[in-house]
Point group: C2
Chain length 383, copies 2
Amino acid sequence: MSVTAAQGFTAAGIAAGIKESGGLDLALVVNQGPRLAAAGVFTANRVKAAPVLWSQQVLRGGQVAAVVLNSGGANACTGPEGFRDTHATAEKAGEVLGVSAGEVAVASTGLIGVRLPMDRLLPGIEKAASELSPHSGEKAAIAIKTTDTVHKTAVAKGDGWTVGGMAKGAGMLAPGLATMLVVLTTDADVDAAGLDEALRGATRTTFDRVDSDGCMSTNDTVLLLASGASGITPAPEAFAEAVRAVCDDLARQLIGDAEGASKDIRIEVINAASEDDAVEVGRSIARNNLLKCAIHGEDPNWGRVLSAIGTTSAAFDPDRLNVAINDVWVCRNGSVGDDRDLVDMRYREVRITADLAEGDASAVIWANDLTADYVHENSAYSS
Amino acid sequence: MSVTAAQGFTAAGIAAGIKESGGLDLALVVNQGPRLAAAGVFTANRVKAAPVLWSQQVLRGGQVAAVVLNSGGANACTGPEGFRDTHATAEKAGEVLGVSAGEVAVASTGLIGVRLPMDRLLPGIEKAASELSPHSGEKAAIAIKTTDTVHKTAVAKGDGWTVGGMAKGAGMLAPGLATMLVVLTTDADVDAAGLDEALRGATRTTFDRVDSDGCMSTNDTVLLLASGASGITPAPEAFAEAVRAVCDDLARQLIGDAEGASKDIRIEVINAASEDDAVEVGRSIARNNLLKCAIHGEDPNWGRVLSAIGTTSAAFDPDRLNVAINDVWVCRNGSVGDDRDLVDMRYREVRITADLAEGDASAVIWANDLTADYVHENSAYSS
């Protein structure tokens, strides 16, 4: 499973001593080819961590031979020294693996504004290289966890080819990608341009539409590596759908494990004039702290949904808005609808449907509730 | 003090039975002239409560003889019936006071999506009218409270003239105005155009720059009424400054009483390329839930400040950003600055300074931290 579900990939997950806990904190994913094609999507945050700046350069070449990922430190806001640390990481991996440093992507997650302990990280790369195996995909997925309570992997099977992947991310999830590090691998024989198209199409409606707490990370990285080891070039639609399925699965796992959350909120905006309108309204609802508190309290507070819709620039008439919570239309025509006592909110998944009554576009955004546990976790954790 | 500090105004605050608690819930403010000039600023939320829609119409005439305010119900998202309720409120006040209903502004606050108990509200107007007094400004300020723990009043004295006011608001504070009802009165002899200019100038840098929780209300209303009773027409600059001072005082009181907050955060953005950039960056910082949690935990987490700046469209170079927390420059040139252990965060007020190093524009935004108490209060309170 994980990043080694597809043929042509090995991985390792080891404890390099970056985390004070002594837990697994360094992952290595190696593409053994024959193809080394790759595509990447990165945070839209203009304050980007050193590994993001580095990996963006690497991806311009369309080839990735290996990915080094560490938890325990984001290497963000660390200045030129931080960039040199990332460069040294790629150089070390290139040397140990016998590949060009320019084909080694790097991803980091953890505290912002702290230098990485290079005296531990560099020997860790040697150790990880010595443990590379096609059976260590799960260990790699464990090594990239920070506040994640579980590791996240997914796989989709095509006709003779496979897409697999791993993800980490539990806080700072937001549009423009979240604090998520995601590595997807495939043995399909697809070139860099084909990977790029499939990956951008997939992230646009999956990772880009989860919004746990409205906060955008400096480190988000989603990579898709192809080994071509299956020798099969799938139809572009089938390949795109497999990548989308794996991204969707991982994105839902991120929401399901968001820091302190007690509810997963599926916000579907329907009958919007455009998809952009639907996404804007969905995000506004997803980020409304008062609504997120109400959902936590199992209170079907549709007034807060309308209040959030009202702050957008989307096309709508306030007197024609309809809102359902768990399929009960508690707001009709901008006013009181069906009895709110009919709404059963005991379960973790809560569905909000916002009908803009303007057109036929729609979008789904996933979010979480706002809880005292979220506050406690993020008051104490300096990241 | 309050709305009766200026000559020519009477007020009342009574219990009409709108609130289940039996507390004061209906306020009346009457301008006895000789002038009845008025200006108003309302929520930018496109989902507007019935009293906002009504009062916007009233203010177009530039004359307000009286304001009826109620707590215990927002009369928002109540459809055509809700608008009729507001109309009936103005008609009743007009009839009792012998003025035109078209010169009676109405403001409501409380639950969204619930009709007001008109069988109690209308008799309440008669009762309030019978208790009008130039000494009841404080009672009026108490009657508009919802989750406010204290009532809020302020006054500024000119040379022979006065500006006074009252405010309510404890949650949903956000740009574009907050769930705030504010009535300002003055005995200065200023026409509607002069009031409008002073009021818009004042709210732009005061109420529009407090952001407790990023949520914009359906009911925000700020009114400024002039009686002209002092017979003095102040210099426009002096009048504008007095209005600004009262608004600033009340805005700070709103932040100081925000739901569940334990910190008041003063965010000053300096050296921005434009004031718009400064405000955009300030709001992004003010709304970052992770940062708000960190401040609650007294953690000078400047990485979260940079991460918030990075999501804006403002002009800046990530490698030239500087951030101070309580005057300690913990981030210099986008990287680690002075020792974060030097930052003392024990006190309620926390100052964040973000230096964009691009120009000479600046702005101050006030915000609050995010606490478990905020979550508890807003999980249980359906508003």
